[in-house]
Amino acid sequence: MRSLLLQRISDGVLPITALFAVYLLLYGHNRPGGGFIAGLVTASALILQAITYGPRRVRENLAPVFRPVFGVGLTLALLAGLSGPFSGDPFLTHYHTEVALFGAAQLSLSTALLFDLGVYLVVVGATATAVSVFSEEPE
């Protein structure tokens, strides 16, 4: 069953959700949000697509892109953690730095963000995998 109305809404919502997820991820350190929540927001957008267009869309178009992502995420989180031992600090020590942008603006960077990005990717990858596997047609 397809609903044109739902499809239009879902398509409109998808980019907004994606942007919102990025916002949650980047601001998570200071406002409500973070990798886990951002990952779930992205996952629910994927699920909305699955509901409106049928699971085939997720399985054929989105899952191949999102599925390998959890391996990348876990590697990223591990690497972020390993930056500690290579600098003589314990595992999972985070480092922060401030980068001046255009004179006045300050951009604060941190390995914690890298770690959070890893968490985000794992959550998205795992959910996309589950959705695409479970949405196979029952035989």
Partner: protein, 772 residues
């Protein structure tokens, strides 16, 4: 230094990934890439050897979780770098051999596994932290089992892989228990610290338990009695794997560990008797099994176990005199035994068989003179013949057991046993050469089925591996002064010039006895047969498999009411046991905490939704009620001003609701509840008890305020140290990042498991849910 060690250990893993990636252009490319890893290892190993060959030791501290007292420190010393060279040099030969052995049927996954094994082995030999050593130890167990069962379509390969895995991973668990105990006793799991605290440690009687557990790990890995049988079972692996893992490197990990433990435990009262008895028993029993076998690879496998027994016994004797020459023993065996394995692989290609019952009848000497010559050199090394490096190694062992001993006549006893065991090795060597090449009649033309297509490298690689035997035997100067005692000059002549002493007597009598035994075996060979191997490892494996299938049946048969009951009750029991053992008081506070009258509304809604699950029919209505009670929590979190939790709760409820709906489409329609009334009541009671206990715990944790709440400290540190305003997120990614890392790992495993189980279930159960 750390960066080079990271290259050294990580390099093979990196090249393993590359070998998998390039496999799409054909397996040959994987083989070419695979050559780079051992080349890198050898290069770095030679550089490190120059630094530590005189006995220097470099510690590379690597903090891991200092709050838990765990480090991942590395160390570079003579014993470790020697193994690095062993792994690199023999690995180079074996990869080159394997490329030509498999030819066009090279597979990327094979080389990827071989290189991962190489990396794990390097991790073992460069670890200073026993914990790190254990992690890599288990990695070698896994990669070895996967390589043994590489041809998993064949039943024997699967059986061999399961047996090897269960025996060696069982030993690995003993090793883990031993190192935990050791860390508790000595306050550290770092080898360098343990060495310094050795005498204090040995004063505690409980150290013997730790020692026995650690040695069990070493004995299983090195296929010592009574765990020998997994090694012959592992011979289903391809010949390059047998040569590399099951003779040159992995089975030596046990010896390596004993070498590492030697400075810590050698003065323990248990060290000498345990190592000598197990080592000598294996030397004799595995040696006699080698004499009775007919499969050439089995003969080599048993003689490998026997020689490892010799090294263990050597370490036992060394407790009094000090270990010197252990590198010679290990290098000698690794070189000639891997060469022999590779030669058997060549022989199988040349003659089409490795069964001695067929080869005994045929005369391959004229057709394959070069192969026969190499076989003869390898076998002579196995027998410890003069003019070879092996001769010095054997003498070294004889000398070690002739030192002062445990009790009177012990020297006589161990000397006699050593002579008998060496004679068994001589017999096995004679079988390899005389039995294989000197049969009565010429092989028929039909038997040489692939003659002419055998790549030369199948003989060149073993020849190169045997070269040090000849060099060391004839001109031992440089080679032995490097291997035996660093910095000293070795001034003896070739390995036959000898003063008349007890060593010579023992050597001569072992040769004679070996000849006699060979003659006897030729007479009796067909009558005795190969004999049945003793079954201990197989029994252990069957016991473990039987127990797990029994447990699975007991816990899971009966649907998920039973499964959940077992799960919940075990968790409850663990909780209570923990509270009992730590004697933590179970507080009984019935006061209420900070009250919010508004909270009664979501609370009542949650309870009502949860209760209604019992009364609504069908899956989907129940699921919706469950979700409703979950969304009720969101209101709770909002009332208590926890936006992160509320946001997470909404999203988790939504995603899991949809996932459940997707799964329901695959499930058969819900039937009538078939449980009997008493069973329903029982399940109800269990659910109620578990629910009440959990509610109680949640209640308590909510109203007990610690004198110094964790939260306050985290709030204070979040902004200044972690540069974050949102404490919840700072907790997740910084203060408790290890927990988060564990959680996302679980998530990845779950995603992989869902995919595998779902697909496998479809393959296995077919469409209708009935087993095919």
């Amino acid at each position: 230094m750390l960066i080079w060690l990271a290259f050294l250990i990580g390099g093979p893993f990196f090249f393993a990934a590359v070998a998998l990636l390039v496999a799409r252009w054909g397996g040959q490319w994987s083989g070419r890439v695979a050559l780079l890893a051992p080349a890198l290892v050898t290069g770095l190993g030679l550089w490190l050897w120059a630094e530590v060959s005189e006995g220097a030791r470099v510690l590379v501290p690597l903090p891991w979780f200092p709050t838990l007292g765990l480090s991942a420190s590395l160390r570079v010393d003579r014993w470790g770098v020697f193994f690095v060279l062993l792994v690199g040099l023999i690995g180079l030969g074996v990869v080159q051999y394997a490329r030509h052995y498999f030819g066009l049927s090279c597979r990327g996954s094979f080389f990827a596994l071989l290189l991962s094994f190489m990396g794990s082995m390097l991790g073992i030999v460069l670890a200073d932290s026993l914990l790190l050593l254990f992690v890599f130890w288990e990695l070698t167990t896994v990669t070895s089992a996967l390589l043994i069962g590489f041809e998993f379509q064949e039943k024997d390969a699967r059986k061999g892989a399961v047996l090897a895995f269960l025996v060696t991973s069982g030993g690995g668990l003993c090793l883990l228990a031993g190192l935990v105990l050791l860390a508790l006793l000595a306050g550290s799991a770092d080898l360098s610290t343990l060495e310094a605290r050795s005498s204090a440690l040995l004063a505690v009687p409980a150290h013997t338990a730790a020692l026995v557990l650690l040695l069990l790990g070493a004995f299983t890995k090195s296929a010592q009695f009574p765990f020998t049988e997994w090694l012959p079972g592992a011979m289903t692996a391809a010949t390059p794997v047998s040569a590399y893992l099951h003779s040159a490197t992995m089975v030596k990990a046990g010896v390596f560990l004993v070498g590492r433990l030697f400075p810590i435990f050698s003065q323990s009262p248990l060290w000498e008797p345990l190592l000598i008895s197990v080592g000598m028993a294996t030397f004799l029993i595995a040696g006699s099994r080698a004499v009775r076998s007919f499969d050439l690879k089995q003969i080599l496998a048993y003689s490998t176990a026997a020689y490892l027994g010799l090294i263990f016994a050597f370490y036992g004797y060394a407790a009094r005199a000090g270990a010197q020459g252990e590198i010679l023993l290990v290098a000698n065996h690794a070189l000639y035994k891997s060469a022999l394995f590779l030669l058997v692989g060549w022989l199988e290609k040349a003659t089409g068989t490795r069964d001695l019952r067929i080869l005994l009848e045929e005369r391959w000497l004229k057709k394959e003179p070069w192969g026969a010559l190499l076989f003869a050199i390898g076998a002579a090394a196995l027998a410890g013949a003069p003019l070879l490096l092996s001769f010095f190694a054997k003498e070294k062992f004889f000398q070690s057991l002739l030192t002062e001993n445990l009790f009177p006549y012990a020297t006589l006893l161990s000397g006699t046993l050593a002579v008998i065991a060496s004679a068994l090795a001589v017999t096995a060597a004679l079988k390899l050469v005389v039995g294989t090449f000197f049969g009565p009649k010429e092989p028929s033309e039909k038997r040489e089925f692939i003659k002419g297509h055998i790549p030369r490298w199948l003989l060149i690689v073993p020849a190169l591996l045997l070269l040090p035997q000849l060099v060391g035997g004839i001109a031992p100067g440089w080679l032995l002064s490097t291997f035996l005692a660093p910095g000293t000059q070795w001034s003896r002549g070739p390995a036959f010039w000898h003063e008349v002493n007890i060593d010579l007597l023992m050597g001569l009598s072992s040769y004679t006895l070996g000849l006699v035994l060979y003659a006897v075996w030729r007479r009796l060979a067909y009558r005795t047969g190969a004999g049945s191997p003793y079954q201990t490892p197989e029994k252990i494996a069957n016991l473990a498999l039987g127990f797990s299938s029994w447990l699975g049946q007991k816990v899971q048969a009966g649907g998920h009411p039973r499964f959940l009951s077992v799960l919940f009750l075990s968790a409850l029991a663990a909780l209570l046991l923990g509270a009992f053992l730590t004697r933590s008081p179970i507080p009984l506070l019935l006061s209420t905490g900070p009250d919010l009258y508004l909270a009664w509304f979501p609370a009542l809604a949650i309870a009502a939704a949860a209760l209604s699950i019992l009364f609504v029919p069908g899956r989907i209505p129940r699921l919706i009620m469950l979700s409703l009670s979950g969304y009720g929590l969101v209101v709770f979190y909002s009332l208590f001003r926890a936006p992160d939790l509320a946001l997470t709760q909404i999203l988790v409820e939504t995603v899991s609701l949809v996932l459940f709906l997707l799964i329901f489409r695959h499930m058969p329609p819900i039937g009538k509840d078939a449980r009997s009334r008493p069973k329903k009541v029982l399940h109800g009671v269990i659910a109620l008890v578990v629910g009440v206990v959990m509610a109680f715990l949640a209640w308590q944790s909510g109203i007990i305020t610690a004198p110094q709440p964790d939260g306050a400290e985290h709030l204070a540190r979040a902004s200044s140290e972690a540069r974050g305003q949102n404490v919840v997120n700072v907790l997740l990614v910084d203060f408790r990042a290890a927990d988060t890392l564990g959680e996302i790992t679980v998530l990845v495993i779950a995603a992989l498991g869902v995919t595998a189980l779902f697909r496998a279930g479809r393959l296995f159960f077919g469409k209708k849910g009935a087993p095919k």
